[in-house]
Amino acid sequence: MSSLPLFSALLRLADDRLVLGHRTSEWCGHGPILEEDIALANLALDQIGQANHLLTYAATVEKASRDEDALAYFRDAIEYRNALLCELPNGDFGVTIVRQFLYGVYSVLQWDALSKSKDGTLAGIAAKSLKEARYHVRHAGEWVIRLGDGTDESHRRAQVAVDTLWPYTGELFMQPADEAELVADGITADVSLLELAWEVQVADVLRRATLTAPETAWMQRGGREGKHTEHLGHLLAEMQIVARSHPDAKW
């Protein structure tokens, strides 16, 4: 079997976490309160760390003599495979937290499925990341309830966040065609099978938060094929500038 589908699958997993982790790190020094500033920095650190492990493994699978840093810093936007949801700007604290929650539930379900992978390395990374994703979603979920069931203003903003982000959630569950063999072999997990469990978990928290999911059926897509919003280019420009200005620098 060609290793290319596995490489592509690992990029999809890694790029989600790297791009969302970078977004989350933008809050560093800007959090609404000190504890939350530290919390968001912690979440970002975990997500970037997970991406680091995945890209390191992807590099060994690809066997193209580029390492995890080359994959992170020397790929252009068109080569990134993250879901569009992860690259959207942070918006206000409500958008940041609601995205962290919507993606977090997906992430827990995906790591849980991948922790049973027949690929030992991937299963190991997944089992480790699952522990972290669980407290990420707990933290974000508690905030969603607090904001949604809080003041009129916090409720309004949280609902705007849900409405804004919702059309970007469908892409998470679109199963890429090139992964069929990997799924059949028990290496990766079919993301379309996670959707029902995701809906149940998300609906439960939204209900407790007195928020409602929009009834839109239209879903944005493109990130998994490298067709991104303009926001990713700006994010990468900032993330990659030092590495590209000083290639092979050591510090």
């Binding site: 504890e35 920095a41 912690n42 390395t121 972290e132 978990q201």
Partner: protein, 168 residues
């Protein structure tokens, strides 16, 4: 060829000298980061480590410290390799190390457990006792502290804020 002057047990004793840079009261062995050490016939040592948190910035420093410490002890060649399975858990930290943590002012971790509920309305279990006045009357301030592995608590008795080593 000379007989190797050290074995696995000796290597582990040496590794007790390598401390976690962020919690310098614990060795990397007590922390559970060191999973194994293999001494081959030529005296080369392979140390297997597992990261605590995926994003823990201390892991690189720990790997370098293990490498440098063993070389300083006279080991000719040191390889440090990383494994992810089984996933690191604070349950591996022994009682003796937990006592050291508390004496240092960090509440030791409770038992790691996972709830089936993703976002529980109320947290299960009780919090750690204050490492300073030993009161059980403590409140969680933030699940996130100065490092990935710690949470922030405050003692309602002696009003002392303190950190807890998170159970994971």
């Amino acid at each position: 060829m000379v007989a190797t002057a050290y074995d696995r047990e000796r290597v582990f004793a040496w590794l007790e000298e390598v401390k976690d840079p962020e919690v310098p009261v614990l060795s990397v062995v007590e922390l559970g980061v060191v999973r194994d050490a293999v001494v081959d016939a030529d005296g080369a040592v392979t140390v297997t480590v597992t990261p605590t948190y995926s994003g823990c910035p201390a892991i690189r420093v720990i790997e370098e410290s293990i490498h440098d410490t063993l070389l300083a002890k006279g080991v000719l060649r040191v390889t440090v390799q990383t494994v992810f399975t089984p996933a690191w858990t604070t349950d591996w930290i022994p009682e003796t190390a937990r006592a050291k943590l508390e004496a240092y002012g960090i509440a030791p971790p409770g038992l790691a457990h996972t709830s089936d509920e993703l976002v529980p309305l109320r947290r299960a279990g009780t919090g750690p006792r204050c490492p300073f006045c030993k009161s059980a009357n403590t409140a969680l301030r933030s699940e996130f502290g100065s490092t990935a592995c710690k949470a922030l608590w405050v003692c309602a008795e002696c009003t002392q804020p303190f950190e807890e080593f998170k159970a994971i």
